[in-house]
């Protein structure tokens, strides 16, 4: 198999799995155990998301429940580029919107982070206003968005046109004698 792929830049959101349930009472000695997987910057926020889900859909408050564990889910095949389909519900200024987005990346957490960034930039929807409903890995034939399907070509090739190169910090200057080379 060889050495694993290096991960030089980690995403700002990580993929967590939180498992928990309501504390057992006399009325209910064996409450249902729930496994919730979410995207959060750290395990603390992951637990918060879990309790929000439990509160809103299962009538279990943090005070009345227990978390068995929080685990970060690592990418199974980080060297392979995948097409992720992400179903979202985000709150715009006028109400909730359901969206499905496709993104091409090696790690699911990185793809979802980019989608969060996209939503905050294009739609001003911040982290707390976005819920990820479902994520899946899509085969190339199932992808519909052109920004993803344009790379489903074994012979993909493109030149870097009008390249704006950022000089090293020590070489940066407000005025230069020569115009930069953009090819």
């Amino acid at each position: 198999m060889g050495k694993p792929t290096l991960d030089l830049a980690s995403a700002h959101l990580r993929h967590y799995e939180v498992v928990g349930r309501a504390t057992p009472t006399e009325a209910c000695p064996a409450p249902k155990i729930f496994r919730h997987h979410c995207f959060a910057p750290n395990h603390v926020v992951a637990k918060t998301k879990f309790w929000k889900f439990m509160r809103e859909y299962h009538k279990v408050k943090r005070a009345n429940g227990e978390v068995f564990g929080v685990r970060e889910l690592k990418e199974k095949r980080p060297g392979v580029i995948k097409n992720f389909g992400v179903q979202l519900r985000w709150y715009s200024r006028t109400g909730p919107v359901n969206t499905s987005k496709e993104i091409r990346d090696t790690h699911l957490s990185r793809g979802v982070s980019r989608i969060f960034n996209e939503l905050s930039g294009q739609h001003r929807a911040s982290f707390s206003n976005v819920q990820v409903i479902r994520t899946c890995t899509k085969a190339p034939k199932d992808c519909t968005r052109p920004n993803v399907t344009q790379f489903h070509n074994a012979k993909v090739r493109f030149p870097l046109i009008h390249r704006v190169r950022v000089p090293k910090k020590s070489l940066r200057a407000p005025f230069t004698a020569k115009a930069p080379q953009t090819f």
Partner: protein, 128 residues
């Protein structure tokens, strides 16, 4: 305006120079394209490690890369074994080191890693 056939394309097999970061001034081969800005690159260490110390397989931003005129014919996402064989048979390393660009980089690196005695010798040779 350069003609289209003079463009160095970002494609599978293109040799790129890494211009920023930990692997600065090292070359790697593009194995796959993630999207408009990022590619999967790899550079396995070859027999002559002085010329080609390895760069691990990772996704790099095109902003930190500079495409070179050298290209290897490989299939997309080739793994290390196949990649080493392809680089060897197509003599990619040789083609890169022949370029003036590569020689300049190596000279710059050699000059930066010079020891005091060599610096003295260079200075003497320059003065003559």
């Amino acid at each position: 305006m350069p003609e289209t056939n003079q463009w160095r394309f970002i494609e599978v097999g293109r040799l790129v120079l890494i211009t920023k970061g930990k692997y600065e001034n090292k070359v790697a081969t593009i194995l796959d394209v993630v999207d408009q800005n990022r590619v999967l690159i790899d550079s396995p260490a070859c027999k002559d490690s002085a010329v080609w110390a390895g760069v691990p397989r990772h996704v790099a931003s095109l902003k930190d890369l500079e495409p070179t005129p050298v290209k290897t014919e490989i299939t997309r996402g080739l793994r290390v074994g196949g990649l080493v064989k392809a680089l060897d048979t197509q003599n990619t390393i040789g083609k890169w080191t022949e370029l003036t660009w590569a020689k300049k980089i190596m000279h710059r690196q050699a000059r930066a890693n010079i020891n005091d005695f060599d610096r003295f010798r260079v200075d003497r040779a320059r003065r003559q």
